[in-house]
């Protein structure tokens, strides 16, 4: 119970800090942190699928679908943000069903390969369907988010929108993970044959987990589109898809917080390299270091350090003369 109170306290402090960013920092920090929020949504929404044991390297494609759908709805049809966001998320989910359903029987690497191929397919569609997406010229002139009849003109207000969206998505995903559904996902990831033999329809549950991920990736995409207001097909490529996966691994896959920690930590640290070739190198090194030294991810760091301290304390101090 005390642990729970501690966690809630830390959470409250973080939220208050996040609320203060626009007041304390300038537009630069507002911009960076709003992008961190999208990355957190992306990382957390990959968890259901990952927990089911599916190596999904295609998440950026669903973000792309959400982003383009919402942007085009708002730009061409003047659809308000709350509806265009929903439209983007729903379309991402529907496409997710079309991709997920046939590939659900594939495991491990084979499933991963389908998702990788899919990222490329979506990127190429965005690139080649010039009449709709403007292709490699990029889609510009996306309206600012128009929410409940109000247009959020300032970066700060858009930042708060991103923060609110992130908190809502995290709450939903966390509740789901703590529910019986989450336990079933975990069971499928640990031993799918056993889960099946106990009556779990693993195909249905894998599809559901996958769809949930697609929906929230679509949400992240929609926010991104109206915040950055410029979409460029290669942004949603293989690199972003692997980054989302790396957030989860570096943060730690053992707990829900891992995805959040990983996304925040890596997004902030990689900020100087954004868009440069060093970005790939940075993420590769982060992944390697994690695998080598912290296989449980950053969330296991406190435990590791405590273990190290105990070990130090137990070891005899070397004499200075030696």
């Amino acid at each position: 119970m005390r642990r729970r109170a501690g966690v809630l306290g830390v959470l409250a402090i973080l939220v208050v800090l996040a609320l203060l960013v626009p007041q304390l920092g300038g537009d630069y920090y507002v911009h960076i942190f709003a992008l961190v929020f999208t990355n957190v949504i992306l990382a957390a929404s990959l968890r259901p699928s990952l927990t089911c044991g599916q190596l999904n390297i295609g998440h950026s494609a669903f973000m792309s679908i959400g982003a383009y759908t919402s942007a085009l709805l708002a730009k061409n049809l003047a659809v308000p943000f709350e509806l265009s966001l929903l439209g983007g998320a729903v379309l991402a989910t529907l496409v997710g069903v079309v991709i997920g359903y046939p590939s659900l029987r594939l495991r491990g690497v084979y499933f991963a390969m389908v998702t990788v191929a899919f990222v490329e397919v979506i990127r190429l569609i965005a690139q080649l369907w010039v009449s709709l997406t403007r292709g490699m010229s990029g889609l510009s002139g996306i309206p600012k988010p128009n929410l409940l009849g109000m247009t959020l003109t300032t970066k700060a207000s858009q930042y708060y929108l991103g923060l609110a969206l992130m908190l809502i998505v995290l709450l939903i995903l966390w509740k789901l993970e703590k529910s019986r559904l989450g336990l079933i996902w975990k069971s499928i990831g640990m031993a799918d044959n056993l889960a099946q033999s106990l009556g779990v329809d693993i195909a249905r549950h894998k599809l559901l987990a996958f769809m949930l991920g697609c929906f929230f990736a679509g949400v992240a995409g929609a926010f991104y589109a109206h915040f950055i207001r410029f979409l460029f097909p290669p942004e949603f490529g293989f690199l972003m898809a692997t980054n989302i996966l790396v957030y989860n691994y570096v943060g730690g896959r053992g707990h829900f917080v891992g995805a959040i920690v990983g996304a925040i930590f890596l997004s902030l640290l990689s900020e100087p390299f954004r868009g440069s070739p060093y970005e790939t190198i940075f993420f590769s090194i982060a992944m390697l270091l994690t695998i080598l030294f912290l296989p449980g991810g950053l969330i296991t760091l406190p435990e590791k350090l405590a273990g190290l301290r105990r070990w130090r304390a137990a070891a005899p101090t070397p004499s200075p003369a030696a």
Binding site: S179, L181, L183, K186, S197, G199
Partner: protein, 253 residues
């Protein structure tokens, strides 16, 4: 009407007939043993019965219903539940959580129930889960992580999970393999207790002492075919069976 009946059950892997025209019946309330030398097709047989493999030919009828070709979770939902060889368990969960997932079958799997279950499991299910642990003698280990349990306990936990799913027919795949005499004796007592509660049992096991002491009827497979069938006494004195296990090197004439 038998509880389980297979006719001409056949499964080919390429050119190999792993299970070949096997007719198997299990009556309600029996403990039946399925034995045979390595590679005789026992595990394939289990995989066919539980839906993890589709038969190449033949049919499986469970309690009057043809279940051939159904998927594993559908078969489990009909009351035919299996355990796995060695320790296929949810290692990162506690013993109780493992059993509660076994309960999953009977607690309703509707999406609405799944999404709006406020706590992981309602108290009555947790009580039932603890009951299953009590019955199997694991009550003291309910909140321990499965991976930290000793081997024998893990094997029994596998049985407890299957029990929680309230099977009418329980398929046990090598329940006492790797156990010492004391442990295997306790597991075999457990098997009899389970039968006493009204669950029919079909088990695969290499430990002959355990099989002979527990099963009322034994079916012997060899090279995918049924070699012999009968009481433990009949089977253990059958020439065919002795030949299958020991070979025919010595001329008895």
């Amino acid at each position: 009407m038998p509880l389980l009946e297979t006719r001409d059950l056949t499964r080919h892997f390429g050119g190999l007939a792993a299970v070949n025209h096997v007719d198997l019946t299990v009556e309600k309330g029996e403990i039946v043993g399925l034995i045979g030398p390595n590679g005789a097709g026992k595990t394939t047989c289990f995989n066919l019965l539980s839906g993890f493999l589709r038969p190449t030919a033949g049919s499986i009828v469970f309690d009057g219903e043809n279940i051939t070709g159904l998927r594993p979770h559908q078969i489990a939902a009909r009351g035919l539940v299996r355990t796995f060889q060695l320790t296929t368990l949810f290692q990162e969960m506690t013993a109780l959580q493992n059993v509660l997932l076994g309960l999953h079958l009977h607690s309703g799997t509707g999406l609405r129930q799944l999404l709006f279950s406020r706590r992981d499991f309602p108290p009555d299910e947790i009580a039932r889960g603890r009951e299953a642990l009590e019955l199997t003698g694991l009550a003291a280990h309910a909140d321990q992580l499965t991976k930290n349990l000793p081997h024998g306990h893990q094997r029994v936990l596998g049985i407890a999970m299957a029990l929680a799913a309230r099977p009418r027919l329980l398929l046990l795949d090598e329940p006492v393999t790797g156990m010492n005499l004391d442990e295997s004796g306790r597991v075999m007592d457990l098997v009899k207790t389970i039968r006493g509660h009204g669950t029919t049992i079909l088990l695969v096991e290499h430990n002959m002492k355990a099989v002979m002491g527990t099963c009322e009827r034994i079916v012997v497979l060899n090279f995918g075919q049924k070699l012999a069938e009968g009481t433990p006494d009949e089977v253990s004195t059958s020439r065919d069976v002795i030949q299958a296990y020991l070979g025919t090197g010595v001329n008895h004439a």
